[in-house]
Amino acid sequence: MNSNIADIDIDIEDELDLFVIGDAQQYLFFKAGGDIYAFDVADVSEMIEYQTLTKVPMMAPFVKGVTNIRGSIVPVIDLLERFSLGQTTIGDKTSLIIVDNMALIIDEVHDVSSIVEEDIKESLEFGFKIAQHFIKNMAKYNDSYIAILNAQEILNIDELSILEGD
């Protein structure tokens, strides 16, 4: 599993270089709660294995705590819980993806690849299982539509910092 993640790390670097030449945008595909979602690679700074975290009391349930990433204290958020789709079960492949200096818990990293512009569509106003404001666009990936996530909305400080019971 270690090698798994390391491979992807290298992939991103390579593909980023390619991206400069091509005209298709690069995306990081990953699984959360069995579904595939994507982030624009530009939003993601790093991926690491899931690691122990320190619970911080009084926070909303989806704020799991903090973890130490190379000497920095980084908040950890359960993406699935943020979508109100239950809690991520921690397993062998559970990973943290670092977006905007925050760590998101996801089931597993799937792929990094590009999507051509024609395959990117406006998100539906309703009908998708996660709230519309979390979705930037929908995209065709392996013949099915998946959500490209809106990092700013998911990591909205005002919502993340709400205390439990408030």
């Binding site: 320190t54 130490n68 204290i73």
Partner: protein, 692 residues
């Protein structure tokens, strides 16, 4: 901004501050020579430094002020209250000019117009008027305000080899000399310049011998060189002092100097009686040398200006070292074979001790006295009270209390706001005070002192105090307090720090602008401080601010609660005890124990932080205190003392109270740091709402 300009700015700020202090002192009625002298010196120094940089606007403005103060110093002009107010305006103007030139902005026409008006008025203070006008016009000529007889001076200048690297220009020096007098002969000495192939273009080889006519004193001429004194070797004497020429030769030890001086008509051949001899040391030349040494000694300052970011970098590294060393210590302690490792252990402990010294030393660099910052408030208090017709005596104490520089800087705005509030809302108008049997003059105290590991700043006024019923009514009206709530006085007073709670009937432009009291509280809490308020209706109010000594590193005590490790700042800890079975039974469902006859309220950390039930057999209590409150924290395990670096948990967690940050332990684990004052507050709030 380059380094020289920065020094200039800092210098000017210091001078302006001492000028303001002296003016305010005079305004309060104490007009003495010291105060006048210090203003004169301040103006003079600013003029001098500005001259070195060629900031002519500042020079000419300061010049008028300097002349006036010179007259005041001599007793030919008397100071009136009206003048003092005007001087304060002039000081402000000077500040603006300095700001503008330092930021490389042009002096705006408005600023120029203000300057002209100020100068006009300054000039009217000087008598006789004609003479003064002449001074203003003939800025570049001989200064004759004091009608001193001019005299001729010989000035001999040698620049240090790396003079050009100081960023100063030789020209500026001459320009400045021209402002206080006239250079009659200026002879450049070129004989020290090497042949072209040996010449380093970045070095200064040139020297100057001048004859200079001025009414200024020797000291004033020397002050021209004040800014570059370390890089200039100066010999200065009156041309009538014939013996001095010999001494000059003695000092310079330059074989061609004598002939050059004579041929440039800088000296007469008969001025020289001695032949230059390498090892000759007459009594008089020794005297010069001695004098020079003395001058040097006096000028050597024991302070060092350092860019504070350099210290911050050092503190960051220090923090990392502290963490790394904790790891070494825990590794050493966990070694099984204690016998064999005793030397290693000793070395590690020794290291720890030394690191503590280094850390304390670094932190100490950041500590500054609050006095300078406090003195700036005098002016604000003065202006505010005058503006609204109140008579206020402002008393500062504890100026030498030391506090972290960042804290001092960040506490300044909140303090200004609270002082304005005290004057605007607290202190009554003189008539009202008299009617209430108080003295017409109100009093505002600003105090700073150290108290059990924290710094306390108090603002106390003898004004009308806070009206409990009014505050409460307003809070209920705003829906911030339930109508049936039973609040203590303290809790009611604290409501003034809530947003949107202003009980002032009319918003004045004094306390109405800028930050509100809620922002004040926020600022202080950001510094891990607390704010409390005491007040008696009709007698006055007291705001008490408690601040931590430093922001970056704390000595803490590591405890385990559930699965999480917490650090309690050592400065808050009184003692640790074990909760005995008898105490536990005695306690029942209450949340306090009887500790040596005193009731000790308890906070069950596990409960308040929603941790799972304890798996530990023993229950420990850490007794913490803050101010006058003491409580016991029930924790699972005591893990011992721990030196730690506070790291922010980030914006996501900014609403949590009771936790001030996190710290990365030697093992890489993160421990949360308790904010004891806030935790106690949180508990009493939750307690009164019966949520727990």
């Amino acid at each position: 901004m380059n380094e020289e300009l920065e020094i200039f700015l800092e210098d000017c700020e210091d001078q302006l501050q001492s000028m303001e202090n002296a003016l305010l002192q005079m305004q309060s009625g104490v007009i003495d020579e010291d105060a006048i002298g210090s203003i004169f010196r301040a103006v003079h120094t600013i003029k001098g430094s500005a001259g070195m940089f060629g900031f002519d606007d500042i020079v000419s403005f300061a010049h008028t002020g300097e002349n006036l103060f010179d007259l005041i110093r001599q007793g030919s002009v008397k100071i009136s209250p009206d003048m003092l107010t005007h001087f304060l305006l002039c000081k402000d103007h000077m500040e603006k000019l300095i700001d503008a030139v330092v930021n490389e902005e042009d002096i705006s026409p408005q600023l120029e117009a203000i300057g002209e008006k100020l100068v006009e008025k300054l000039v009217t203070y000087m008598t006789p008027i004609e003479e003064v006008k002449e001074v203003v016009l003939n800025l570049n000529e001989i200064d004759d305000t004091s009608n001193k007889v001019t005299s001729l001076w010989h000035i001999s200048i040698r620049f240090s080899k790396d003079f050009f690297t100081t960023g100063m220009s030789i020209n500026a020096t001459f320009n400045f000399l021209n402002k206080i007098g006239t250079i009659h002969i200026n002879h450049a000495l070129t004989y020290a310049i090497p042949l072209l192939e040996e010449l380093l273009p970045t070095q200064a080889y040139i020297g100057f011998e001048l004859v200079f006519e001025t009414s200024s004193s020797k000291k004033e001429i020397e002050e021209v060189f004040e800014f570059i004194e370390d890089d200039v070797d100066l010999v200065l004497f009156q041309t009538e002092d014939i013996e001095a020429y010999d001494m000059l030769l003695q000092k310079r030890k330059e074989s061609q100097l004598k002939d050059t001086l004579i041929s440039a008509k800088l000296a007469l051949a008969e001025n020289f009686t001695l032949e230059l001899q390498e090892d000759e040391s007459s009594v008089s030349s020794e005297a010069i040398v001695e004098k020079e040494i003395k001058k040097k000694e006096k000028k050597v300052s024991t302070t060092l200006r350092v860019d504070s970011t350099k210290i911050d970098v050092l503190i960051n590294y220090m923090s990392e070292i502290v963490i790394a060393n904790s790891k070494i210590l825990s590794l050493v302690a966990s070694e099984d074979d204690k016998e064999e490792n005793s030397e290693l252990q000793e070395a590690a402990n020794n290291m720890k001790e030394l690191l503590e010294y280094v850390r304390d030393g670094i932190m100490d660099i950041r500590m500054i006295q609050v006095g300078d910052s406090f003195n700036k408030f005098k002016r604000i208090v003065n202006d505010t009270s005058q503006k609204i017709g109140k008579d206020v005596e402002f008393v500062i104490s504890g100026e030498d209390t030391e506090l972290d520089k960042t804290v001092v800087e960040r506490i300044s705005d909140p303090l200004v706001h609270m002082l304005r509030n005290s004057i605007d809302h607290g202190i009554e108008l003189p008539a009202e005070r008299l009617a209430n049997g108080k003295s017409a003059k109100g009093r505002v105290d600003l105090r700073a002192f150290a108290d059990s590991g924290s710094i306390v700043i108090e603002i106390e006024d003898d004004g009308k105090g806070l009206d409990k019923t009014k505050i409460l009514a307003k809070a209920i009206e705003n829906g911030q307090v339930h109508p049936n709530a039973n609040l203590s006085d303290e809790e009611i007073f604290k409501l003034i720090f809530e947003a949107g709670l202003s009980t002032a009937e009319k918003v004045s432009d004094i306390s109405g602008r800028g930050v509100g009291m809620d922002v004040v509280r926020r600022n202080i809490e950001d510094l891990r401080g607390t704010i409390d308020i005491e007040s008696t209706l009709g007698k006055g109010s007291k705001i008490i601010i408690r601040l931590p000594l430093t922001l970056a590193i704390i000595d803490g005590f590591l405890v385990q609660v559930g699965n999480t490790k917490y650090i309690i700042p050592l400065e808050n800890i009184k003692e640790c005890i074990e909760l005995s079975k008898t105490q536990e039974t005695e306690m029942g469902s209450n949340e306090f124990i009887n500790l040596r006859g005193e009731m000790l309220p308890l906070i069950d950390v596990r409960k308040i932080l929603h941790e799972d039930k304890s798996i530990y057999k023993r229950t420990n209590i850490v007794i913490v205190y803050f101010g006058n409150k003491t409580v016991g924290l029930i924790v699972d395990e005591l893990l011992g003392e721990y030196q730690t670096v506070i790291k922010s948990l980030g914006e996501v967690f900014h609403k949590i109270s009771g936790i001030s940050g996190g710290s990365i332990l030697g093992s890489g684990e993160i421990a949360l740091i308790f904010d004891i004052p806030r935790l106690i507050e949180l508990k009493s709030r939750l307690g009164s709402d019966n949520e727990l």
